[in-house]
Symmetry: C2
Subunit: 341 residues, 2 copies
């Protein structure tokens, strides 16, 4: 049962699931599509990634209502080559498209040793790490590349060409959850800046530039014609270009600079893309693969002050399973509004 | 003909090739192996990447002489799965191993849509971009991951776990050379710091830490027990881990923390690894793929102050083809010594 807590209302993950499903159903999203998206929203809240959890849900509902997302789209799968799987999301959510392609990707990678899944004409897929983790849960190494509406300029320029274009990687660990790396090409994910604006808080210098290319601490200046700063300068911009080519150009999706916003209600479906590569490690790793991986990861984890990627999310998973999450009362009321509509 | 020039002796690229081949032959490197390595040294000089050109050659010669490289090793190829190619470099140079695997990788990727090449028990492969560019010249998208002896600690730690672990990406461009991205996981490649030490110049703050984890401008402090700084903090360290898992763990090569140095004569063969993924884009990209790519790249190149990855190397290629390169007299004399020995 939900209870009042400091900062909002406490919900169990089961309640998050129920709430999310009802809000999406109330926005016309079909049942199969809804289950796929709801699972990812619950998972984001479970991992403490609030920006892709309930905080994002009103936008999903709005976009399903105004047709930026076709909430009842049926994705279609094709096999353009023995190692390639292609799924056209048909302007729907990315989640049901990835759900359709993932088992085919996994089966192909196990047979061939490597395979790729190209998802096109899809909407925001939420946390990329969620999808590569599911591939790794099939015993496969996974790489994920995702484009997004342009918000990042090349270094030295001021016109956005790239989305924050995240890259994710996951590797199965014997006897443990997969290790998941999930990072945007920008210093921070754009959703972090949106969250700061919602809270009325300034952003640290170095996260974003204003529309004239000057560093800013104002989240509104960053979001209103400004650009995101690439992580590590040219290196982050280089990664963004690599992600763009794989996730948008290869998949035949909209380039980031052509995609409509994930934030407002205008411009029709964004038609972005996702590209995943799965590799079966066992034909290559040779003997003692498990202990070798454990030794590598241990050499990081054992250093005081260092941590493995995903450690915070894993800790959040334990905490939220026991304690649930806290959602601001106003957000909860807004979501309930979509559920009842 | 070589001529005296400011800063050293001017050599044509043909003279660089002849000199390199003779120096490696004088160090006991077999002809096939020698041709593979020489081509990469010439290419590095052609692109202005001196750190992996003639400046690196004395180390190659030393290592072939002391047995850190088996200059006559014959790599062996196996096919552990329909989409996977594995080459054991048998403690030899990486170059002949990659040369053996590359056509098989390319043929497999064209048939299957995607394929991977895992090279194990190999030495430094030089510029990773050189290898992905050759894959892209076959009409394929290419990703390359390479590990190296540990020189970078996880963020917050002081014990090196990763090499500077570069990642490279190449995409074929119709009517132009492939676009090549080639970047280390560290702020700069370690060879840049070696070059500064050779020249007696300080390094900028932010490139490296000393053995106590403090920022340093002294290249010797960086190289003598210090560590490289990952690009973009946690993000660069995350990429280094991803590269480590693909290039070392998947291939069955030495982890970076177990590999002997690429710089000194001790410790036997480093037995590092390289991992390449090749994707055939045409089954996926759909119509107007060429113009779409040109539009994306144009949106970067047309912004004043911005540039495409690889632009400097392409400009160097034109310049060195016409003018040759300049090699310091002392380095030239040293290399001639290996050639005559």
């Amino acid at each position: 049962m939900s209870t009042t807590a400091p900062g909002g209302i406490r919900l169990s993950l089961r309640e998050v699931e129920d709430l999310t499903f009802r809000a999406l159903a109330g926005s016309g999203v079909g049942e199969v599509q809804n289950r796929a998206v709801t699972a990812s929203v619950v998972d984001a809240e479970a991992e403490g990634v609030h920006s892709h959890g309930l905080a994002r849900l009103p936008t999903y509902c709005e976009h399903a209502r105004v047709g930026k997302i076709d909430g009842r789209a049926t994705p279609t799968l094709s096999r353009p080559a023995p190692g390639l799987v292609r799924v056209d999301a048909a302007d729907g959510f990315a989640h049901p498209a990835i759900d359709l392609g993932l088992p085919v990707l996994a089966g192909t990678a196990r047979r061939q040793g490597i395979a790729a899944l190209a998802v096109t004409n899809s909407y925001n897929c939420g946390v990329v790490g969620y999808h590569v983790r599911r591939i790794a849960a099939e015993g496969l190494l996974a790489l994920g590349f995702v484009n997004a509406p342009a918000s990042m300029a090349p270094v030295g320029g001021t016109v956005p060409v790239f989305g924050t274009n995240p890259l994710a990687f996951a590797v199965p660990r014997p006897g443990a959850d997969p290790l998941v790396l999930d990072q945007s090409s920008s210093v921070v994910a754009k959703s972090e800046i949106v969250l700061h604006r919602q809270r009325g808080e300034p952003i640290p210098l170095g996260w974003a530039l204003d529309r004239d290319g000057r560093p800013t601490t104002d989240p509104a200046a960053a979001l209103d014609g400004g650009t995101m700063v690439p992580a590590g300068g040219h290196k982050g911009a280089g990664l963004a270009l690599m992600v763009e080519i794989l996730a948008a150009w290869v998949t035949g999706a909209c380039l980031s600079m052509d995609a409509s916003s994930f934030a407002d209600n205008t411009g029709g479906p964004p038609r972005t893309g996702q590209f995943f590569i799965a590799v079966a490690p066992s034909p290559l790793t040779g003997e003692a693969a498990g202990p070798r991986l454990a030794r590598l990861l241990g050499a990081i984890a054992e250093q005081p002050g260092a941590r493995l990627p995903g450690d915070r999310r894993a800790a959040a998973r334990l905490r939220t399973a026991a304690e649930g999450i806290t959602v601001p009362a106003a957000l909860l009321a807004r979501i309930e509004g979509y559920a009842k509509a």
